[in-house]
Symmetry: C2
Subunit: 352 residues, 2 copies
């Protein structure tokens, strides 16, 4: 039987985009046998350059582009003009960036009826108008919340089933999970932040993690799937540093972060007074979304999961005493790329 030919355009050739290209090449035999599918990569695009070919690139060419980017070289000698209108019919546009700059491309792709796969959470956590345009049955966004953990697909299935989703709780930030565990063990907050940065757990500017905004965006996406008409500003977010420190440079912040040792120690102690364990948790329910430090029982579902895991707990009518819980590695470029590839296959089957 002939293989279904599926054109794919990849936006972003950073760590996730490059791992995705390698996964696509490595999975060719599997996709042919399991899915009767052949993914035809018709373009790689980043902020500086782009290579496009409607016929699709050979695997050798794709791996060469990836190797080229890895050495810090642009994809092509110049940035060619390209237009969404020129993409083949039924193309799936895959956004592996972490930028809002892709939104005009995504909106145009949707307007043309193309498929969209997002690892980039910014478009779905932006204005509700973007959400309304992007989040439909011709899009997939599994990796915007907990990387390849099947959080989005599970929520989608719950919403399609006869069940009622009552509340969702999630520990969705590996970085903040690490810091919560360090605080609980009595480590000074400033030292813990510097250790997280040294270990590569944080963004170059750790305040991007400490602000809680990344966890808030993930929670907002889940809330919008539940039908909550909220904007990011409606999410109650507990940042782990005071707003005044936003004015500092990264170096100044890292020098000053030890001043937070005592207030953070006191906050952690207050939250864990009853022998509870400390987590940075998103809670979605009753029309509200909150993200912040909480103390939870060690016997609770959230409290039993290792702090290095991401975890999402769905409390539903049918999953009440025994909530549906998904946990495991919730970050990383390779696992995110795997999740993106799963989304591409799922969407290719839905579009055909």
């Amino acid at each position: 039987m002939a293989l279904l030919d599926q054109p794919v355009l990849i936006l972003g050739v950073g760590g996730v985009g490059r791992a995705l290209v390698r996964h696509i090449v490595a999975a060719r035999a599997r996709h042919a046998a399991r899915n009767r599918l052949r993914l035809r990569v018709v373009g790689l695009v980043d902020s500086r350059s782009a290579v496009l070919d409607q016929q699709g690139f050979s695997d050798e060419a794709l791996l060469a582009f990836v190797a080229c980017k890895e050495q810090g070289l642009p994809l092509a000698s110049e940035n060619p003009h390209w237009r969404v209108a020129d993409l083949p019919a039924r193309t799936i546009v895959v956004d592996t960036t972490a930028s809002e700059a892709t939104v005009p491309i995504l909106l145009e792709a949707k307007a043309r009826g193309l498929g969209v796969v997002l690892a980039n959470k910014l478009p779905l956590a932006g204005p509700l108008a973007w959400w309304d345009a992007l989040a439909d049955e011709r899009s997939r966004w599994e990796t915007t919340c907990g990387a390849a953990l099947p959080v989005i697909s599970t929520l989608d299935t719950l919403l399609n089933s006869g069940d009622d989703v009552l509340r969702i709780e999630g520990a969705l930030s590996g970085t903040l999970g690490f810091l919560a565990a360090q605080l609980e063990q009595g480590a000074p907050f400033g030292a813990a932040v510097r250790e997280a940065k040294t270990k590569g757990y944080t963004e170059p500017d750790p305040r991007q993690d400490l602000s809680g905004l990344d966890a808030a965006r993930k929670a907002l996406i889940l809330a919008r799937m539940l039908g909550y008409r909220l904007e990011l500003r409606d999410v109650a977010v507990e940042a782990l540093y005071p707003a005044e420190m936003d004015a500092l440079s990264v170096e100044q912040f890292l020098d000053a972060v030890d001043t937070l040792d005592e207030p953070m120690r006191a906050r952690a102690a207050a939250l864990t007074r009853e022998g509870q364990t400390l987590r940075y948790v998103a809670t979605i329910g009753d029309g509200c979304v909150r993200v912040g430090l909480v103390g939870v029982s060690r016997e609770s579902t959230l409290g039993r999961v290792h702090t290095s895991d991401s975890v999402v707990v769905f409390h539903t009518r049918d999953f009440s005493d025994n909530p549906l819980t998904i946990s495991g590695r919730g970050a990383g470029q390779a696992v995110t790329a795997s999740g993106v590839l799963g989304d591409i296959v799922s969407l290719a089957q839905a579009l055909c």
Copy 2:
């Protein structure tokens, strides 16, 4: 926009089938809004009787059939003749029975290109020829393993992604989880079995649970998805009673089960000698499937989950240190019916 009209035939009007009918009726508004879908129930069939109408029954009629069955009455005054060939095009045939008697119907439905949703695990755990005919992209079988827990869909996505599934571990029997917990707490085995039966955790003949065959069938389905060409007889199953006791009546077995107290106490003690906790676990990996009692560390992923939960742990290349874990209620008629409805919606979208 017009709703997609999806014909559905339901085999089995027991607890799951009746809950499914109620879920379909209750979810009409949701399916119209979220999925632009209307499920047209064209038939209810059980072993004694059947009602079929190509136009689809009204919700009032469907609820009346369910109420009728609940009172122990047949669906219709006589068992009408019906044929798969007469079902509308694109019908989804849903098997909520626990019987192999449906297999000829399912095979004929597949031969006609109809969709199939299985809550019944017997057809997929039967001869490989049945598996090959039934387990394709026009079928769904989420609830054959852990009820509505997203085990099957997650494995399917992992297989489509760039990841490699190395090993799957699962505690997939609520009944055997309960017994393992009782044994660990020092309860005599015979008393624990009678308590499980009294609480309704077991089949009327508890040996059906104690044989481990139900867990073995679930494990076999996961193994076959991994490409293992195994039959049920190839699964290494630890039964919790000796084969000689198969000759007894249920009453004789319940009288004699106390003779197992000492051997089971010794087995549990041996397995938990290092302070481990006792679980009844299926392990799928390296081409083999084993199902039986094991001792696991209390700090392990399996050991951390409550024994009243079902749990499946996927060890993959990308989910190595932090395996992908799904846990929660893994049995029950209402939650199974919800999972079946999720499958019907998923398949309706794929077939259209």
